[in-house]
Every structure is written in C-alpha cells, then in structure tokens.
C-alpha cells in the first residue's frame, strides 16, 4: 500500500473519531460527493482513487498496478512495457473457456486507436441468439466480450471486422451460425449492447472479408467473398456500397473473376482500399489442368481506379 493511500486511510479514521457528526449525524451525502475535497473511504459506495481521483488522488503512483492501469498508462506502478506484450483476450469472467477460438480477426479504429474490435469462432458462452465480438477501449490491454452479432445460435462461422476511418462505425461480414446466411452488419457504437444492424444478406457465400474507408464523411464498404452463384465457377466477388453510413445502403455485387475456373475460385478474396480511391482485390483462381488438391492456381490481383 502506498504512502498516499495510507495517509488517506488514517486521515479518514482520525477525522471520523474526532468529529462524530461526520460519521453519523451529518447526512452521508454531504461527504460522499466526489469533488468535495474529502476522500470518503467509508461512504457507501466508498470513494477511492479509481472512483474519485479528484478527492482521492490518482491511483498511478500508489505502488499497485491495478486495472485499468497498465504499463502504457502507469509505468510508475506497472513497470516498463516489454517489447512484445502478450495479452489473453479471453476476459477474466470467462477464464475457464476452452473452445476452439479459430480464425481471429482484428480491427483498430483509425480515429481512436485505443478502440479495437476482434472476432474469432468464439461462442456466446450461454448460447443465446447473438454471437460476441471482443471489445477493447484501452489499446488491447483488457477485453470484454459483447454479444451483439445476430447469429441465431450464439456463434458465427467466418466473420471479419473493419471500422470506417473517421466515422467510428464498425462493419462486420459474417456467416450466421444457425444457417450460414451471409450478412453485412453495422454498429455505430461497438461498446453498446445493442445488436448490430443487418445491411445485406444472402445465402451460398463463403469467407466474407470486409474493408472500409471513409470518403467525404461516407463509408465505402467492400466485402470480398466467394459467391457460389457466380456462373461457370467465377465465384471471386466483392459486394460494395459507397454509402455504408446511410440508413439503408445500396450494395452492388461485382464479379472479380472474368474467366471460367475449376468450379470455383479459392475461398480467400481480399479487398484493399487506398486513400486515393483506388481499390484492389486479390484472389486465387483455381484452374485447369489440375482441379483437385494439390491444385493449379493463379494468384490474381485486380484494380479499380474509381472505387
């Protein structure tokens, strides 16, 4: 325990003993108000450096490294951050979790890099109808599971995430757990418990991979996906909207593959958006002569100079 905290402790006890009305006769509210200059450690709820730093002083420097302090925010208590810091993203409240959290994805909010969203094949631990995303608001030092992805069965199949660059809006491309329906979801507050809104959905699609970037206040959202509705195995596809932030965005389906394939392209179709409005896509084209594993494949990069 630090000197500062000890000082407050003794100060509080001594004052209570010497001036009984402070502890009893005087209304509790009078000494409970944060900002009145008294660190009311015996109040209900008690004030502390974490709940009322105005009265109790900052926790940083008390010699105790306690959440939300970490090496980045309080080196005095928590020490210098190592070059590589390994964080267990599974929250403390679910530390017994042991399922297979495969295929992780991370999105950092470009307008607030302390905000990070993550996904994996992580289930809502109670089942339920919504799947979780991982949420951090302190640069990844601590994480919370937030069950906001409508999924029908508490988990998802493939899922990826991206923020708009200046809108704080988070987009997700996901396959629902109950029927593998592809959805593009959106939330304007990823820490809220409100379910994400579905902007578009359809079936027979694999591996949605979402990218987003803000142009003139509007989010352009590109979702690479393997769309089995593509004729003659031309399945490499991007779904695109130029106005992801409006209430009901209009989406266009763009086929990237222009040649016939061995029934389908490889499952990974990845878009990338340059700030100058150029958009790229990369995918595997599965082609003759060897249509079974190990396959013959081209790596194809496509570009659109006008978004």
């Amino acid at each position: 325990m630090s000197g500062r905290r000890r000082i407050f402790l003794f100060f509080g006890l001594g004052l209570t003993a010497a001036v009984p009305w402070l502890a009893g006769a005087r209304p509790a509210r009078a000494i409970d108000v944060c900002g009145n200059g008294i660190c009311a450690i015996h109040a209900v709820p008690p004030e502390s450096c974490s709940t009322c730093p105005q009265d109790c002083g900052s926790c940083c420097g008390n010699g105790i490294c306690a959440a939300p302090e970490n090496c980045a925010t309080c080196g005095t208590d928590c020490g210098t951050c190592p070059a590589v810091l390994v964080i267990n993203m599974m929250p403390l409240a679910q530390s017994a979790e042991a399922i297979q959290d495969s295929e992780p994805n991370l999105a950092v909010n470009p307008s607030n890099p302390l905000q990070i969203a993550g996904t994996a094949f992580t289930d809502n631990p109670t089942g339920g109808s919504a799947a979780p995303i991982y949420v951090s608001t302190n640069g990844g030092f601590t994480w919370t599971l937030n069950n906001i992805v409508p999924s029908g069965a508490g988990g998802t199949a493939d899922i990826t995430l991206r923020f708009g660059t200046t809108t704080n809006t988070l987009y997700a491309g996901a396959l629902r757990d109950d029927n593998l329906q592809f959805n593009i979801f959106r939330t304007t507050n990823f820490t809220s418990g409100t379910a994400m809104t579905s902007l578009r959905n359809r079936f027979d699609v694999d591996q949605p991979f979402v990218e987003a970037r803000t142009f003139s206040g509007a989010d352009r959202v590109y979702v690479g996906l393997n769309d089995f509705a593509g004729a003659n195995g031309r399945t490499a596809t991007i779904d695109r909207t130029l106005s992801g932030t409006v209430a009901s965005p209009a989406f266009t389906t763009i086929r990237l593959e222009t040649r016939n394939t061995c029934g389908q392209d490889g499952p990974q179709i990845r878009p990338a958006i340059h700030s100058d409005n150029t958009v790229y896509g990369v995918f595997y084209r599965w082609r003759a002569p060897t249509c079974v594993s190990p396959r013959t494949a081209d790596i194809v990069v496509v570009r659109d100079d006008n978004g």
Binding site: L92, T126, G193
Partner: protein, 268 residues
C-alpha cells in the same frame, strides 16, 4: 342433508381454490406479465440475487445509470453452456426498470457482456416472491430439459449403451484431409450393454465419428477405448453399401443423468 352438504362445501372450496390459482395467472397474462415458464425458456442466465448497489456497474464498458445495478448472485438457477460459475459473485444487471439496494429477486437475463465481471440484460420479471419464483424456475427447467432430451431421442435412430472396444481407420486406411473442415471419419466398435431405441442385431455395433479437431467437429465426442456410455446414433448413407450409424452432434454422448432418464423412457 349434512352428508350432502359437505361435498357441496368441498366443491365450493375446490372451485374457490381453482379460481384463486387461475385468476392471478390470467390477470398477470392480461397485464402483460410474462409467465415463469416463458421467461425460463427465453433466458440464458437465471439467478436468485440481491441488489448491492443501484445505479452502478462493475464493468468498465457499462455506463452506470438508473437502469443498471450491481447484484450479488446467491444461487444460479440456470446458466447455459459454458459460462463460469458466478455463485457468490457480483454482476452488473441492465435493468428493465429501476431497483433499489436490498431488493432480492429472481433475475431472468441474457448475457450481454463478459469482461472484468459479467453483464446481463434483464428480459422480464415474474410476479411472486423470490422463493416462489425460484421454485417455479426449477420446475420449468426440468420440463425444458426433459423435452430437449425427448426430442434428441426421437431424432436418433439407435440409442445404445456399452463399452468402446476399439477405434480404427475405415477399411484400414486413415482419412486424408482435403480441406481443414474435413471430418476425417473413423470407426468405433461398441460392445452393447443395452438398447434403448432401435435394433442392434449383434452384441457389437460399429459407428462412425469425426476424428477431426477442426472447429466444425472438435466438440463431437471422440470415443476412447474402454469408455462406457450411452450414445445417440444416426443413420447416414454410406458411399458404398448399406447405411451406417454415426455420432454427429456434441450431445450424442449422453451425460450420466441423461442416460438414466433415457433408460427410463426409451423403448427398443
């Protein structure tokens, strides 16, 4: 007359009792108060607890308001799947209507947040004392589990108990993965103790199981030599020849309690 009068009084009292039982439920339904049964089916975390602090939260992601409270969990009445045990711990409740410190009740909730603590969203409130509602929840949970087991038994083609004698590659050839999601089928040979549904013509039954640890299949039980248990098996078409039995779902190996219940209700 007295002999006749007494049955009439009994009838009157019985009618009164029926009235007393039905009217509150009817009034509650009319007033939009959900039943314990419906709340129990909708909630994935139900607990008996007390409000420790109103207008507060013990999750940093939750902004405290009049619709939040910290409650201590006295007894978990239902927690789905793999949630940690929160008995005796404090959780944040997102309330449907404000409560005050000291309020003790059964909370019907769905899990919203898991961080430094648990954050749950209240989905409804039942009428009655906490003790009464808790008892009703226990009864409702038993019915839900019984109905769920009955549905699983009905969906199975063969329900048998026995000991695993051997696990082996099908036809002596280990499966090769084409994609990461391939099930990698293997075969288990079971020495049959009892048949609860379907017909097993011999003392042993073989069935397929996915040996893959890929996320699609990892939770399906993997039989171990010497393992005893009750299996729900499903007929699936073979690539060649007759259909074969297979274990396909995580719940196809019954728990001990389920096996006991299944033995009591299933017929060969």
């Amino acid at each position: 007359m007295a002999f006749e009068f007494f049955p009439r009084r009994k009838t009157v009292w019985a009618l009164y009792g029926l009235f007393a039982c039905l009217v509150p439920g009817a009034l509650a339904a009319a007033a939009g108060v959900p039943s314990v049964e419906s709340l129990t089916r909708s909630a994935d975390f139900i607990f008996l607890g007390s409000v420790i602090q109103a207008g507060a939260a013990n999750l940093s992601i939750v902004e405290p308001s009049s619709r939040t409270a910290i409650a201590r969990v006295e007894e978990v009445l239902h927690a789905g799947r793999a949630l940690d045990d929160f008995t005796g711990r404090e959780v944040t409740v997102l309330l449907r209507a404000p409560l005050v410190a000291g309020d003790r009740r059964v909370f019907f909730t769905q899990v919203q947040f898991l961080g430094e603590s648990l954050g749950v969203r209240e989905i409804g409130r039942a009428r009655g004392t906490a003790t009464e509602i808790a008892a009703a929840v226990r009864g409702a949970r038993e019915r839900v589990l019984e109905q769920g087991l009955a549905a699983r038994l009905a969906a199975a083609d063969l329900v048998i108990s026995g000991r695993v004698l051997e696990t082996r590659a099908i036809g002596g050839v280990e499966p090769q993965a084409v994609s990461e999601h391939d099930p990698l089928w293997r075969e288990a040979l079971l020495e049959v103790d009892a048949v609860f549904k379907g017909k097993a013509g011999e003392r042993t039954v073989s069935f397929l199981y996915p040996s893959s640890l890929d996320v699609f299949w990892a939770s399906v039980p993997k039989p171990q030599v010497g393992q005893k248990g009750t299996w729900l098996l499903h007929l699936r078409p073979a690539e060649e020849g007759a259909a074969v039995y297979a274990a396909l779902e995580p719940s196809d190996l019954l728990t001990a309690a389920e096996a006991k219940a299944a033995a009591g209700r299933s017929k060969p």
